[in-house]
């Protein structure tokens, strides 16, 4: 087993700055899905999201290799914030109106093992997740922001409150409404989410 797989993000960053490329590969492997999903939820286009994800990691590379990485805070929050900012910048520059990209199902949750699932149940999962991502995009901005920061940037509610300039109770309330809204919309859209289907 690769020795770097058990190390903390902070230790991996230190190793990478010292020249260990395996450490960087571990960081990318750990955080690629969160970074990619964060961007995808904003730009709504798989290819653009992949391009911006590359930009985000390359920006991180330059910061770390240039000795400008601030060790305060979590790597995951930092890289997701870079990703979020790049996605927002892209949106502003392009002045695009939101569009929904059709999901082609080509990258089916390869972080999880679904080896025993049938093709049909895999398709149901992918459809449900794709629809869920669309519903996240349709949430009010304040709710979507808290949800993405907590779920995909690994920020605590206290950190989110400070980053967005609200009280922790407001951040918690926004998260609660985001989850309630998503649940209602899923029920309204008759989206299946059978607990047994998702059991590991």
């Amino acid at each position: 087993m690769n020795k770097t797989t058990q190390l903390s993000d902070s230790a991996l960053v230190s190793l990478y700055i010292a020249g260990n490329e395996n450490a960087f590969e571990q960081l990318v492997t750990r955080h690629k899905n969160k970074v990619f999903t964060t961007i995808l939820l904003i730009v709504k286009d798989t290819y653009t999201a992949e391009d911006l994800m590359q930009d985000a990691f390359i920006k991180a590379v330059h910061t770390m290799k240039g000795g400008r990485y601030n060790e305060e805070g979590k790597f995951s929050s930092w890289i997701c914030r870079i990703a979020h900012n790049l996605a927002i910048d892209f949106f502003r520059k392009e002045k695009r109106s939101p569009m929904i990209t059709l999901e082609d199902g080509s990258n089916v949750f390869n972080t999880l093992s679904f080896s025993e699932d049938s093709a049909e149940s895999l398709q149901i999962k992918e459809d449900t997740h794709a629809r869920l991502r669309e519903l996240i995009q349709a949430l009010p901005q304040a709710q979507r922001e808290v949800l993405m920061m907590r779920h995909y940037a690994d920020m605590s509610f206290q950190e989110i409150a400070e980053a967005t300039g609200v009280s922790i109770n407001t951040a918690l309330g926004r998260m609660r409404y985001a989850l309630i809204n998503l649940r209602k919309k899923m029920q309204h859209n008759d989206i299946t989410y059978d607990k047994n289907l998702y059991s590991e």
Binding site: V28, K34, F36, Q54, F109, H151, F157
Partner: protein, 76 residues
Amino acid sequence: MIKTSTQNELIQYVYNELAEDARTQLEAVLMHDNELAESCSELLEMQFLLQNAMKSPGERAINNILTYSKSLSLQS
């Protein structure tokens, strides 16, 4: 009707951010409050679903990043 303060604590509980003493108290309440227990269950369900709704980028994009980083190392 669940109080807003309790609902906020429930969110913190589901995301494992509730302080130890508050967590113990909330778990005691969850034992006999069906409405709160159901809310907790629904939040956990959504949390699980959201966690799994993450999508993976293509391998090519990942390889591009790793190759770029290695190329910088070779230059320095």
